[in-house]
Structures are given as C-alpha cells and as structure tokens.
C-alpha cells in the first residue's frame, strides 16, 4: 500500500475562469512598473498605496549610478503615465484589510484613509510593498552625520552651486559603509555615485568601507572613475572611530595598506560631513499584511524566505506574486527586472483566461473528516479551509456547498492546491486523497 501515492479520478477539476483584473499592493517603483506593463496588456489594475503619493523609496533618490538622467524626472513621468491610464485605479492611503478566497475568486477588502471601503475581486495579487529605511545609528547628537538620502537631496538641491549644509560650505565628506548589519550593495553603489558628484563639485571625498560591494553592472568602472577623480578609499577590519573636532568630525582609521600591524598609522579624516547609509528593514506592517494574505515571512520579517524553487517572484500562494524590496532591498535595475518577471508571471497566468489545475489535487472525503484542523494548519499554500457542506448528516454528506447548515468539513480548493500531499500524510482520519 505504501506505493499508492495517487488515486486516479475520471473527472478533472473544473477550470477556473480568470478575469483580467489585478490588485497591486504598493505604489513604489516596482508596483507602478508592473501596473503600467499590465495595463498595456489590457488588464484592469488597482494599485493600493498606503501613503498619499506614488513612488515609494525611489522618491529619496536623485541620481542613477549608471546613467546621467535625473531620477525624479524619470519617476515623475512614470507616475504621470500610471495616473493617466484609463484602466489603472490608484487608491491612496489604502490598506488591505482582508483577502478571502483563492485564485480566480479572490475577494479583497481595502480601506482608504478617508475610511471608505472597497471590495475588489482580482484574479491575481502582486505584493510590492517595499521596505522601510531607518537612519543608521550615527553619532548621538545627529550633527554633521547624515544619511545617504539626505546627501542625495543636498546635491540635487545645490545643482550648480557649491555644496552647503545648513548654510556652511562643505569641503570634505567621508562616507562610512558597512556599519549596518546587512550584506547589500546599495550602500556602496550610492556612496560611490555620490562621491563622484561631490568630488566633481570640488569636495574632497573619502569612502571608508569593510567591503566595496561593486557587484553591479558598471560599478567597477565607476569605482575606478572615482579613484581617478581623487576620491580616497579606505578599508577597515575594525569600524572607524568618530569624534567631534572643531567644526567637523574626525574619522579615524588605521592605514590598512601597511601590512605590519604595529607599523600602521592612524589616518584621521577631518570631515565637514559624514554620510552613513540608511538601514533597510522589513516594513513592520508586512507582518500584518502577511497575516491577512496568509503569506510566509522569511528572515527579518521580509516576505518569503530565499527558496530557490520560488524563482524570486512567486509566493507560497497561487496567484499572489512578490517583487522588489519587500523581499530584499536591491538596486533599481534589479528591482525592475523582478517587476518585469512578475509581469511575465501574471501574463502567463491570465493567458487564455482560465486556470486548469495540472498538478495532482488533494480532496477531502467529508464524511471521514473529523474537522481537527490539522490540514488547515499545515497546508503551506493556504489552500484548505473548513467549509459548510449541504447535508448536516455527518455520515452521508455530499461534497457540495450550500451555506446554510452547521455541519462542517475541511475542503481543499483545487485552484490553490499545489499537490504536495502534506495534508494527505498528516490527516489523522486518513480522509484526504491525492487525485491525479
């Protein structure tokens, strides 16, 4: 009997109709890119943005590292397209309060900041909620130690003028990297990008880092360019020591280019400004969103662990996709690549207008179900619920729905079932069968 993994069934699960309607949660760069692309395909798109403006974290950026265009102009044009598109609805101050149903019959309840509620029935949901940035733990008084996005703003505002901070000219700037406990390349990319601009404006810039994370297209060249322009780079094993010194900050770091430890001199970088990259962290609201959407969270409360089988953009539930910084903070080009991959997934899902389960599907035999909730708790795809069946008689219940009686049994939604068989193996009543 141990060989019997599947049962065969004459009738295949009914195909599920999919309307071309998609809900996108989050109106950052990933959300609006997905919206624009899907809208071009004739899909009705609703963007639920929790804030009052579109653009998300990219609103803090002003310069691309790899091209001369201005980020805000580019973003503004994109937002204009999205807000002007006939088949895109943008809900602002919007939060997802409930998500019921499964692929093809999702029911989303969204509450906007004015307290209005909207019910949507999208065929697919894209989560692009991004992440939050927190000022890095810097010097306690906050003076002369600024975040990377503040430096971007400063540079964007000063344009042709020399750089000034609080009315005082800025002559020397030091970027300190790797003070936050993560391994992402955004900080290096931003620091070198800004260092080049600052140096061009006549500042003396130093970048102090443990590792220069140049694993992005064109970054090594930019790094070279920065060195060519006179930006100083220092690497450390032990974090540099910061102290106030007159009107500036002194960043002290041993000269690691000298091999012998005892011969290393301490380099003191007197800086008008010290720039420390912000910390990127999972949005605390992600937890609540995951509860509502029955999604899994991975390390640090970000969406979804780094499982190779999910090819970046899939979630544990069919019809729900993830992209961008809600999973892992990345540089714009990489986030956009994910956004287009999500577009591809949604297009492929909606292609043909129906979803036909191809994998094996689990099915509960209602009379045998003891309603112990084992399967409901263990299904990794949130595909099982306890539903009311038509006949109250436990022992001869037909497996049809008719919401007005009390007797209940578990039911696997064939649209949401991935056919893994975990529920089959766990059911203490052996009431579930995997049909092929």
């Amino acid at each position: 009997m141990y060989q019997k993994v599947y049962e065969s069934k004459a009738t295949a699960p009914a195909p599920i109709n999919l309307k071309p309607e998609v809900l996108i949660i989050g109106g950052g760069i990933v959300g609006i890119t997905v919206a624009r692309e899907l809208a071009r395909e004739g899909v009705q798109v609703v963007i639920a943005e929790k804030g009052e403006t579109l653009g998300g974290g990219v609103r803090d950026l002003h310069f691309f590292y790899d091209r001369p265009a201005a980020v805000q102009k580019w973003l503004g044009d994109l937002i204009e397209v999205v807000e002007g598109a006939g088949n895109i609805t943008v809900l602002k101050g919007a939060k997802l309060k409930r998500l019921d149903g499964q692929l093809g019959r999702f029911q989303a309840l969204i509450r906007t900041s004015e307290g209005r509620e909207r019910t949507l029935s999208p065929s697919a949901v894209v989560v692009a909620t991004g992440c939050i940035t927190r000022p890095a733990e810097a010097m306690s008084d906050g003076g002369r130690c600024i975040g990377s996005s503040e430096m971007e703003k400063l540079l964007a505002e000063s344009r042709d003028l020399p750089v000034a901070w609080k009315g005082q000219p800025v002559k020397t700037v030091t970027f300190i990297l790797d003070r936050t406990d993560d391994d992402i390349k955004i900080h290096t990319v931003n620091a070198i990008k800004l260092a080049v601009i600052l140096q061009e404006k006549g500042c003396q810039v130093a970048v102090v880092a443990r590792d220069l994370k140049v694993s992005a297209s064109g970054m090594e060249l930019l790094y070279r360019q920065a060195r060519g322009k006179g930006v100083l780079f220092f690497k450390y094993d032990e974090p540099p020591v910061l102290s106030h010194s007159g009107d500036g900050i002194s960043v002290e770091i041993p000269d690691m280019t000298v091999l012998r430890k005892e011969e290393r001199e301490t380099v003191s970088l007197l800086s008008d400004l010290v720039v420390i990259g912000e910390t990127f962290a999972a949005d605390p609201e992600t937890q609540e969103l995951c509860r509502v959407m029955k999604l899994r969270t991975g390390a640090g409360g970000a969406l979804m662990e780094d499982n190779p089988q999910f090819l970046r953009v899939m979630s544990n539930r069919r019809g729900i996709f993830l992209a961008g910084a809600c999973r892992f903070p990345q540089i714009i080009a990489e986030s956009l690549s994910e956004a287009h991959a999500v577009v591809q997934e949604v297009k492929a899902l909606l292609h043909g207008g129906v979803y036909t389960p191809v994998n094996p599907v689990a099915e509960v035999d209602p009379p045998k179900c003891a309603v112990c909730y084992t399967c409901v708790r263990l299904c990794p795809h949130a595909a099982i619920g306890v539903e009311r069946y038509g006949d109250r008689n436990v022992y001869s219940a037909p497996a049809e729905k008719n919401g007005d009686t009390l007797w209940q049994a578990a039911r696997v939604d064939p649209a949401a079932c991935f056919g893994c068989g975990i529920c089959v193996a766990e059911c203490p009543a052996r009431a579930i069968t995997l049909y092929q």
Binding site: D182, S215, P308, L336, V343
Partner: protein
C-alpha cells in the same frame, strides 16, 4: 511538429537563460525556436554541482536541471541543437536567419530574436602567475564543480588524494586591469564560499583559506550564510590576492605567496590544492554573432542592450555577469518584453 519556418521568435543559446525565455514565451502561446550550438541544451550552468551543506545554500544549480527537464518534455518548443547561426538578413520584425546544422544550411524566419549567448569562464591560464594548466594541483572552481557533480568527491589531480588544505583565490579574471576585465563577475564570492561550505560539510577535516579583495553579496539569505562562514573555524578569510603560486615538482605541494593580514607579513604558505575562482567573459562565439546582428559591446565587454523596437533582445549573463537566479529573472522579464513587442506595444 509545427512548421519550423514559421516561428516568430528565435532564441539563440540553449543555456539557462535561453531555456527559461523559451519556456516563458511558450506559456504565452508564442511559438519559439531554440538554437544551441552544442549537442545538448544546458550550457555552462548545467555542469554545476549542488552546493548544499546542512541545508540548501541557494546556489540555484538544481533549478537548471529542473528547467532542462521541463524543456526536454516540451515538444511544442522547437529545439535545434548542434546548430550555428551563419547569417542574418532582413530587419525589424522580419529576420531571415541562416543556420548550419550538421553541414546542412537552412533558413528560418523570425519576427524577433533573443540572444542568450551566455558566457565563458575566464581562461585561467591567462593569469600565468597562478600556474593554471602548468601546475597540476591548481584547478578552477569550475573544475571543482564538475568533480563534485560527476564524481561526488574532490581530489588532488596529481595523486587523487583528498586535499587537506585548500586555497581559494578570488577575482581570477575579474576586477583586473592587467587583463582588461574591469568588472566584478558578481558570482564568484558566493559560489566559492558555497563550495567551501559544501566541501567542509562532506569533509569536515578539510580546511579552506579564502583569499579575496571585497566580499560581494548575493541575495536575501547571503548575510546569514556569510555569518555562518565567518563562524566556521575551518575557513580562514584573508583580504589579499596572492601574487604567485609555486609548486614543488617532487611532492606536488603548492606554496602561495600572499600578504597575511593576520600576521602582518608576506608569507609563502603551503597548500595541497589551489582553486581559482574564475570570473565571466562574454562567450567567444557571441562576438561574431553580435556582428551578424549589429549588436555592440558595452564598456565591460558584454553585449550592449540593443535599441528598443527592432525586435532584437539580449538576455542572461551575455548582457553582463549574472548568477543563475538573476539570469532566470532576467530571462523571464525578457519574455514579457518580447511578447509586448510582438503585440505591437
């Protein structure tokens, strides 16, 4: 079989990017022809090994085998192996591509062409100071991958014995002005550390020394993975790229000249085996192909993205270094763009 002359999309290159792009376009109902120069699909990544230790280390090599199986079961996608592009005529939306297969020349029409030409591992003998190709026990990480994949073990090429003490030299062929490769290959830190962890899991007695310039991150779980590596007593991190590898022709042992930052001196340290973490260069055959298609190279020497609108797309690592994970994402996104293009958007 559908009419082979009537496929609107031609994908050149049957590595992971080409395969994924073909599968994705097929999902959208677009007929595809996939062309591979070698006798079988899979490309470079299909020869990598699983780098799991106690748990999966997210190297994505298993996904390649999975996709390969998926496409082999997909008779609707026309797959031409052992075929080479010899000429391209026509333009925008209507290309005539000549190809040679087993000496026979045929012609295909295509509305769009996706170039997924892939990359070559850097030819390690180009860095003569490390002695690859001359010293037996200097191998590339790619050699090591194949040892693990096809033989399930690692050994010193000279005597077949298990090396006890291995040096991994990073950035071989990457970030290197002397050979003109001014880019980071983006994958080598992660694959080398994953190989080390996999080897240390199988052979806890083997020690590894990781010689590097800067550690480059790779993905969401890399931070925890790197911390685990740093805590592993059998892995020594030294921020120094060696200047030379010497060997004793008698014992076949190696000496690596490096600046030991811990001890603060330049030393010549003995190792049983040296593994060169080779970077990526654009596939040799991609350059003539680029010429045929009128594609240029970018500053890093990879294929530049063509101007939108002429129906030629570049995807995967031939557009710039990418790991398997990001190649797949890129190929997927390319499929969406190709579909847009075909629909006149």
């Amino acid at each position: 079989m559908t009419d082979e002359n009537n496929h609107p999309v031609l994908i050149i290159g049957g590595g992971i990017s080409g395969i994924v792009c073909a599968l994705e376009l097929y999902r959208l109902g677009v007929p595809v022809t996939l062309i591979e120069k070698e006798a079988s699909l899979g490309g470079l990544a299909a020869r990598f090994c699983c780098k799991a230790s106690e748990a999966c280390n997210k190297c994505f090599a298993c996904v390649v085998d999975k996709k390969l199986k998926e496409i082999s079961e997909q008779s609707q996608i026309s797959q031409l192996t052992g075929a080479e592009i010899t000429g391209v005529a026509g333009d925008q939306g209507s290309y005539k591509v000549s190809l040679a297969k087993a000496g026979k020349v045929s012609e295909l029409e295509a509305a769009a062409i996706v170039v997924a030409a892939g990359i070559d591992p850097y030819e390690a003998s180009g860095k003569g100071e490390y002695g690859y190709g001359v010293i037996k026990n200097v191998v590339t990480a790619r050699d090591l991958e194949e040892m693990l994949r096809f033989q399930g073990k690692i050994y010193r090429p000279s005597d077949g014995k298990l090396p006890q003490n291995i040096a991994f030299i990073q950035c071989v062929g990457s970030r290197d002005e002397s050979i003109g490769n001014l880019y980071c290959s983006q994958v080598c830190c992660a694959y080398a550390l994953r190989l080390i962890r996999a080897i240390r899991h199988k052979y806890p007695e083997v020690n590894a020394t990781f010689l590097y310039m800067d550690i480059q991150p790779a993905g969401a779980s890399f931070h925890d993975f790197l911390n685990a590596c740093r805590e592993d007593k059998g892995i020594r991190f030294i921020r120094s790229l060696p200047s030379r590898v010497y060997h004793s022709p008698v014992t076949e042992d190696l000496r690596v000249r490096l600046a030991d930052t811990e001890r603060g001196e330049v030393v010549e340290e003995p190792f049983d085996m040296v593994v060169l973490s080779v970077g990526m260069v654009l596939k040799k055959e991609a350059k003539p192909l680029a010429n045929l298609l009128g594609l240029g190279l970018n500053e890093e020497g990879f294929l530049a993205s063509p101007a939108p609108g002429n129906g030629i797309f570049v995807t995967g690592a031939c557009a710039g270094p990418k790991d398997i994970d990001r190649s797949i994402t890129h190929a997927k996104s390319t499929a969406a763009l190709v579909h847009n293009y075909l629909n006149g958007r």
